[in-house]
Subunit: 245 residues, 2 copies
Amino acid sequence: MYVYGRNVLREILALPDGRVKVKKLFFTDQENVDRDLKRLQEESRRRGWKVETTRPERLFDLCREKKNQGVVVDIKDFPYAELEDILSSIDSKPSSTLVVLDQVQDPHNLGAIIRTAAAAGGDGIIIGVHSSAEVTPAVAKVSSGLVFRLAVARVVNIASTLEKLKKRGYWTYASATGGENLWEIEFAPRSVLVFGNENEGVRRLVRERADHLVSIPMEAGVDSLNVAAAAAVFLYERRRKAAAG
Amino acid sequence: MYVYGRNVLREILALPDGRVKVKKLFFTDQENVDRDLKRLQEESRRRGWKVETTRPERLFDLCREKKNQGVVVDIKDFPYAELEDILSSIDSKPSSTLVVLDQVQDPHNLGAIIRTAAAAGGDGIIIGVHSSAEVTPAVAKVSSGLVFRLAVARVVNIASTLEKLKKRGYWTYASATGGENLWEIEFAPRSVLVFGNENEGVRRLVRERADHLVSIPMEAGVDSLNVAAAAAVFLYERRRKAAAG
């Protein structure tokens, strides 16, 4: 898998050894590369990774993206987390927030939600294995590399995952039209925010498992927000209230 | 200009006569079109607009987008608003919110910000004529057609526009790192929210004109949000506080 971009490499460099298997790195061979890129190249060599400099056209051939910022990283696979590992790693936190995506299909939205969740202090993202965007190089780039920082788990069944989370003490809040006003929600210390597909929203079977259906107030005649915008509003309302105690 | 998509047409249909010059509409000639599309076609005919049904391949040729949802609308130009007209139309409102974009370049971000601003009750968007995404068919689609509902004005100079707005009683809040905490901001009844370029943020000359530099709290090590996510958080924090009185 050829991921690309400087923030992506920065986040990979920040990982503990072995979390991602780096097969090889490709840097642009253009003469006037800036210091930032040189430093990233040196750091990569210090980690003992194979580094090659090559023509910009070859970088494009590898990752099929012009905006690769002069660096392409060949990694074995994206290191998905196990849900169980996410849960046990945050078990002792007084407050935690998970994000569940029910068939979000646009890679741009998935990447943006990962980035916002990492910024807002989310503890992990859970996506389905079916009819969902998965982590691709484009998702990694849009996430500004934060997909390597925030744990992402894949599950077979979203509805039964919500049941499981409820048994672990989580309360679930699904974004849906006609729900309670987001501003009036008091989030539980263990909160799960659920967002649905770009066109259909959260599926009925998933909605029925949620403890609360929640809506963002909107002007008359506007039906919905883009799912990444909705997630940003939810995640920051959650963070604001957690900070306010 | 060939705009496309059903919500785009819905918003054009909702406009007063003459606001947009509709030259012609193209609908898919596939047999099994759903009722929704049929209704849109009938409504368009009732408005006296020229309607043609044609092959899906031709729709693609016209707008270069596969996800055109079976409808392409040929409009003369995008009807930008004049800043002065926006200001006088909201002069008597007790509370108003304008969004200024300083060199936002990604059409996806511009469209998403327009959609969120319309949902959150913003009164208009101001963009620069230089180095900025302008309203394209892709922007119209991403905005879910709301670009035809929310006024968008173009100005030559963003910095002097902020000066002008301040003279009209507006207070300006620019998104920037190291600024005041968004949650502690008390917005003025007339507020202008300023967002900058995807890489560089708000330019220094524009920042210097702002009454407040404002930051969204973030986890250590995360530098910034995607500008459309940041705008969503700002716009809804503004709305929440305005609603709370």
